[in-house]
């Protein structure tokens, strides 16, 4: 159960073409990530909705292949 940072980046990028995306592999094991997504698409959404949008972009990987991903979403001004 692991996922390369490039794959994560690619999936998120598909749904958020405008976003600043930063991905940190916290333990160097391709299994524990800290991800920050900054996008205009979050404007007007609740925090839960913002996170749901990112999880959806991961197409079912979140909570399965991708075990631990700390997520922060930021509204781009």
């Amino acid at each position: 159960m692991s996922m390369k940072p490039d794959e994560i980046m690619h999936l998120i990028r598909q749904d958020f073409p405008d976003a600043d995306i930063s991905i940190k592999d916290l333990m160097g094991d391709q299994n524990h990530y800290a991800v920050v997504v900054k996008s205009k698409a979050f404007s007007g959404k609740t925090r839960v909705q913002q996170h749901q949008m990112v999880y959806k972009s991961l197409r079912g990987h979140m909570g399965t292949t991708l075990h631990a991903m700390a997520l922060e979403t930021v509204i781009m001004e």
Partner: protein, 115 residues
């Protein structure tokens, strides 16, 4: 992933019966996952009384709650029937002071750890 109305009814019952509900891995006394432990710690800091449900002991609940909330991970915190979020959101709300405001707004008794 099949929809299971029976488990949805069970979840709705939990949310009717308890003001603060935490779906977690392990128990409030013994969390079995760091993310679940973080949310427990925050609730305990505020001395909020809550009902924990251990999804590791109930596979139907584990899958059901993910579909019910449209949220792929555990833990999941509900206050007065409203989904608040998982570990990241709760931790973030704690840091910014929004969590305390939320408790106030929802009328949940708590002790402010800072005062």
């Amino acid at each position: 992933m099949t929809q299971s109305p029976a488990i949805f009814e069970t979840i709705k019952e939990h949310l009717r019966d308890h003001n603060v509900v935490l779906y977690m891995k392990g128990t409030a006394q013994m969390p079995l996952c760091g993310f679940s432990a973080t949310v427990v710690q925050i609730l305990k800091k505020f001395e909020v009384s809550f009902q924990d449900f251990n999804v590791l002991q109930d596979e139907e609940l584990r899958q059901g709650i993910k579909e019910f909330s449209d949220w792929p991970t555990i833990p999941q915190l509900y206050i007065k029937g409203e989904f608040i979020g998982g570990c990241d959101i709760v931790r973030d709300m704690f840091k910014t002071g929004e969590f305390k405001e939320l408790l106030k707004e929802k009328g949940i008794p708590f002790n402010d750890p800072i005062s």
